[in-house]
Symmetry: C2
Subunit: 113 residues, 2 copies
């Protein structure tokens, strides 16, 4: 089965033609994953971090939240395919999945590519 991120690539922009019910049900989980202040910041922190990747140990201190909570949010982003995950030694590094954000941006606004 396609991950949500792969599924988005199929759809033409929102304003171009009516989204089918199936397409909408594929896209919505991606937006749902992004639609939280903490997860938005996590995505932004990872995307703009040096080398495009960040360790949880880099991310956790930026929030006033418990470690399990951050872990939960990262899991949500990873499960829909917005973040890639790699374990190196004791640390886990996250990286924004290439094309994930731009595909979403195109679907919504059709200005990005």
């Amino acid at each position: 089965m396609l991950s949500p991120v792969d599924a988005v690539a199929c759809c033409s922009p929102l304003a171009r033609e009516p989204l089918s019910q199936q397409a909408a049900e594929q896209v919505a989980p991606l937006l749902k994953a992004l639609a939280d202040p903490v997860r938005l910041r996590l995505m932004s922190l990872v995307a703009s971090h040096q080398d495009g990747e960040a360790c949880i140990c880099d991310l956790n201190p930026a929030f006033d939240l418990s470690q399990p909570t951050i872990s939960h949010h990262l899991k949500v982003l990873h499960e829909v395919g917005l973040l890639d995950r790699e374990k190196r030694g004791v640390w886990v590094y996250y990286r924004v999945r290439p094309d994930a954000l731009s595909a979403l941006g195109t679907l919504i606004g059709s200005t990005a590519g």
Copy 2:
């Protein structure tokens, strides 16, 4: 106070620099409004409808949902500023707010500020 849609215009793209907590809290409600299959289809239907506007009477039959439920979803989209609302006689017409979607798309996906 700015509507969420106005607030988005201020932010540079997600991947460009870390989103502040305040910015994230302004943007998240917009994405939350979009992050539902029914509302995604509503936006798409309105945006791609003739003359860029649609009456509820056009939208309701496209769904297998009760009239109050559609009314509720449209209200959510309107409150966050994604849809403009105009009453003409007995009917209510919705129209996608100009620049709303493109601003969101740029924030999420664009690499060009």
